[in-house]
């Protein structure tokens, strides 16, 4: 079958496209319209708080991945390397710096405004800290607000930790935001937004958990990265996000009723031979090629850790209008990459079992230390605890030099054949493994 020129899209995807177009248009007019702009990160973002001040958020990681998908990251990275950034530095950072050096043009082709505030709300990844130090130099004089998020070293969130974060919000973050926005913090407005957050979160969980069905109506990784888009970025707490997730959930329910599989860029996925749980971010520079290897071989991703980097909502956390600042604190600490390794193993084990997965696969990212640390241990633990065959591939987020199609295809082919062989031999020969 010839590959269609344009990817086949669901209605909700078009809705999301419109939302993003408006968002980037608003950003391009921000200076003109006197709107203040906050640069911040996805994991543990304080979007409702930013929006409650009528400020506009910008997420450099999202810009970097968008540049990767639009095949611009290679040149951006080279420009950052010319400035002296080493080959080993996180490629999101280099791509973002390169984009700024090239006029800061966003994914819609419109110029992004410079930051009025750098809000560093998450430090689980220490690169984030350095990233904003570098942005501070690129935008001299820009104020920086830092919210330190304690790592879940002991595998739980304590009241002291919550108090510590709320104290920072009250004494450090909010006053700085008030100063930049030129207005007072409105707690009621924040609470009202959190009601929307919780609604959208409920719907997202339903969508992601629909993959427990056999066959699964969604791909929880390749399509999952689109599903998490609005809620992990500028739309959490908005009515638009609730509308988007209502529409998405409606579509997924329809597919379930009709017994349909996930929608891929080439149409509905007909055959689901393997159900996989995937750990690690996807590669963005060759995203469609990468996805195609999976759907061509009948592999559907039923759960992934990457779709939890902006919140592990399926573990029950919801933003709470009754305790807005406390819930922001709990949210920040609960994100996937802020969980300790035993917690991550526990979560992935639960996924393999509850989503009836045939295998567990890791995509290890060459330039991401915070994701890659512990992955081999995770892999071994999952293998021992669940008996699921495990696979390991390597690529990068946005550096096209590190995506070797032939190598990845060769490994994935071997991995899928390994799953298939086990299935057939075990069923045909009645062996127990």
């Amino acid at each position: 079958m010839a590959e269609p020129k344009d990817a086949i899209k669901e209605k909700s995807m078009n809705l999301q496209k419109e939302m993003l177009a408006k968002q980037f248009h608003d950003l391009s007019k921000a200076t003109e319209n006197g709107r203040k702009v906050v640069y911040t990160f996805v994991p543990g973002n304080l979007t409702e708080l930013i929006l409650s001040f009528d400020m506009l958020p910008v997420y450099p990681e999202i810009n970097a991945l968008q540049s990767g998908m639009r095949k611009k990251s290679g040149d951006y990275i080279k420009d950052a390397e010319k400035m002296g950034y080493s080959e080993d530095v996180c490629t999101y950072v280099k791509c973002d710096i390169g984009m700024m050096l090239n006029g800061n043009i966003g994914p819609t082709g419109e110029k992004l405004p410079p930051p009025d505030l750098l809000l560093l709300s998450y430090t689980g990844c220490f690169t984030f800290l350095k990233w904003f130090e570098n942005l501070e130099r690129l935008y001299p004089g820009v104020p920086v607000a830092m919210l330190h998020t304690p790592y879940q070293e002991d595998g739980k969130i304590t009241k002291d930790q919550v108090d510590y974060m709320v104290k920072q919000l009250k004494e450090e973050v909010i006053p700085k935001m008030e100063k930049v926005a030129g207005r007072k913090f409105d707690e009621e407005r924040l609470s009202a937004m959190m009601l929307n957050s919780a609604r959208a979160e409920d719907l997202l969980v339903k969508v992601l958990e629909s993959a427990k069905n056999v066959p699964s109506p969604i791909d929880a990784y390749f399509a999952g990265v689109y599903y998490i888009g609005p809620i992990f970025t500028a739309f959490r707490g908005t009515a638009e996000a609730v509308d988007y997730y209502s529409e998405l959930w409606k579509e997924v329910q329809e597919r379930m009723q009709l017994g349909l599989g996930p929608v891929t860029p080439e149409g509905e996925m007909k055959e689901q031979k393997f159900r996989l749980v995937v750990e690690g971010p996807p590669n963005w520079t060759n995203f469609r090629e990468f996805w195609k290897i999976f759907y061509d071989m009948g592999a559907v991703i039923v759960a992934s850790s990457y779709t939890k980097v902006g919140g592990v909502y399926d573990l029950g956390f919801r933003h709470d209008p009754a305790e807005p600042l406390e819930s922001l604190a709990r949210y920040c600490m609960g994100c996937y990459t802020n969980m300790n390794l035993p917690q991550r193993v526990g979560l992935l084990e639960k996924y393999v079992k509850e989503y009836k997965a045939d295998g567990f696969l890791i995509n290890s990212i060459k330039s991401c230390n915070s994701f890659s640390a512990g992955q081999l241990m995770i892999m071994r633990e999952i293998e021992q605890r669940t008996g699921a065959p495990v696979g390991f591939i390597e690529s990068d987020l946005v550096d096209p030099r590190y995506f070797s199609y032939a190598n990845i295809k060769n490994r994935l082919e071997s991995y899928f054949q390994m799953l298939e062989q086990r299935k057939i031999i075990i069923s045909q020969e009645g062996l127990s493994v």
Partner: protein, 473 residues
């Protein structure tokens, strides 16, 4: 009719073919390092495996006779060796034609051309009988038996004897001629070649000296002795059996392709399988207690964990860089101007291992020159290089989960004694003395063997299990 199954492993350096019978026993092996396209390489390896299979079947038939008549075994072994020479000869003639052709096209000046042709003729005249002798008297030993390697060595030897000024033009002629000669599939007539081989043997045995003092083996002497006055009788007694296997219709019931070039094989899609699965399945079949397999091939290293059925549970492969693989050794051999087969034995003579970085093949080459200039002995540098390769493999093994139960080492590199030495040393150091390390003489064929075994089982999702195809565990 007996059923046979074929596995073809198209590697980055060599292509291998294995034929098994219904009991998973290897009855035919074929290997080629032709640099032609994968389809030709697969054909060459398969043809060779089929010829080898005919001899295996013959030997199996004569098993009882062999016990009472060792001269029979000797005769058949010799026949197979001479048969290989007959094939070699055809290819050698091809090479001769190519050399002359290149010469005509390359040298425009008639006088120069005639001079070069004269040299080429004398070179051919000199090395042809030498190669024949090596085959007839089993003189190839542990040397590489690939066409390119054997003739290159002899050609270079002869070239060394003539005027150095001619070296470059004659090497150019060689470089332009070897590939076309080597990369063509020659379809041999088995019967014709076997009969020619029998004639050659007649000549060999009739001209044997009374004693072969060169050969110290008692059996060898005795067999040769028995054949000397008796070869015509032996040859006539065996002719019927030989004719029978010559006429045998060889039916391949199913086949599997694996290795890097597998996607290019003219096989149906469901007959193509990953080399990871094949290596593991093959290694496990030969050593059923194996739980960890290490395969070092031409350009990749695989650490594979298998369960008690030979099914892969996880694997790790080198990514982004092929330093530490077979090609690394090839490059080092080129740098040192010695043959690949000499590397291991030379490294075995090391008195110490010079520390060498194994992260980059090219850098290792530079390091090698630097160390040589500093006065380090070649043997010690090679010791270090071999150890460096194994250290890289050990890191991959660690990533795949470590070594469990029996450990089986496969791939072309498993023929290198120094690799085996350092591997055994480091596996024991890291995983204890109790780990049993398996290295089979057929280690290079493990992928093809696994492929053939898959072909026999014919695992297809659509096909219901057949009771006769029980898993071999």
């Amino acid at each position: 009719m007996n059923k046979y199954y074929l596995g073809v492993d198209l590697g980055s350096t060599t292509s291998k073919a294995v034929i098994i019978n219904e009991n998973d026993e290897i009855i035919g092996r074929g290997i080629t390092n032709t640099r032609a396209n994968y389809a030709v390489a697969a054909d060459i390896a398969r043809d060779e495996a089929i010829y080898n299979a005919r001899f295996s079947i013959l030997k199996k038939k004569l098993e009882t006779d062999f016990q009472n008549k060792p001269e029979y075994r000797k005769y058949i072994d010799d026949l197979e060796s001479v048969f290989q020479y007959e094939q070699f000869k055809v290819r050698l003639d091809r090479l001769g034609e190519e050399l002359y052709k290149t010469c005509y096209g390359y040298f425009k000046d008639e006088q120069q051309r005639e001079e070069m042709l004269g040299h080429l003729r004398s070179i051919r005249r000199a090395f042809k009988p030498k190669i024949k002798y090596d085959y007839l008297y089993n003189n190839l030993g542990a040397k590489n038996q690939f066409f390119r390697d054997i003739v290159s060595e002899k050609y270079n030897e002869e070239l060394g004897k003539i005027d150095t000024q001619l070296f470059e033009p004659l090497m150019t002629v060689w470089d332009k001629s070897i590939s076309p000669a080597e990369n063509i599939r020659v379809q041999f007539d088995f019967a014709e070649l076997v009969h020619q081989a029998m004639e050659e043997l007649k000549e060999k045995y009739s001209s044997l000296p009374d004693r072969t003092d060169d050969h110290s083996s008692f059996h060898f002497d005795a067999e040769i002795g028995l054949l000397k006055g008796n070869f015509e009788h032996v040859s006539e007694s065996l002719r019927e059996h030989i004719d029978e296997i010559t006429a045998l219709e060889f039916h391949i019931s199913n086949m599997t392709g694996t290795g890097y070039g597998r996607a290019l094989l003219p096989f149906p899609e469901d007959c193509i399988r990953s080399e990871i699965l094949c290596h593991a399945f093959g290694a496990h079949a030969v050593f059923p207690e194996t739980r960890t397999v290490l395969d070092i091939g031409g350009q990749d290293t695989k650490a594979i964990q298998v369960d008690r059925y030979g099914l892969v549970t996880s694997f790790q492969m080198n990514d982004r860089c092929a330093a530490g693989c077979g090609r690394y050794l090839g490059y080092i051999a080129d740098e040192m101007s010695i043959s690949l087969n000499e590397l291991g034995p030379m490294a075995m003579k090391a008195e110490k291992e010079v520390s060498i970085c194994s992260t980059c093949t090219v850098f290792a080459g530079a390091e090698l020159r630097e160390l040589t200039n500093l006065g380090e002995k070649r043997e010690d540098i090679l010791g270090g290089l071999h150890k460096a390769i194994i250290m890289r493999a050990m890191s991959l093994i660690a990533r795949s989960g470590g070594v469990f139960n029996e450990f089986t080492f496969t791939g072309g590199v498993a023929r290198n004694p120094a690799v085996i030495k350092y591997l055994s040393q480091l596996v024991k150091e890291n995983y204890g003395d109790k780990i049993k390390i398996n290295i089979h003489t057929d280690s290079i064929f493990m992928g093809a063997l696994g492929g053939a075994m898959f072909a026999r089982r014919n695992f297809k999702p659509e096909t219901p299990a057949t009771s006769s195809n029980k898993a071999h565990a």
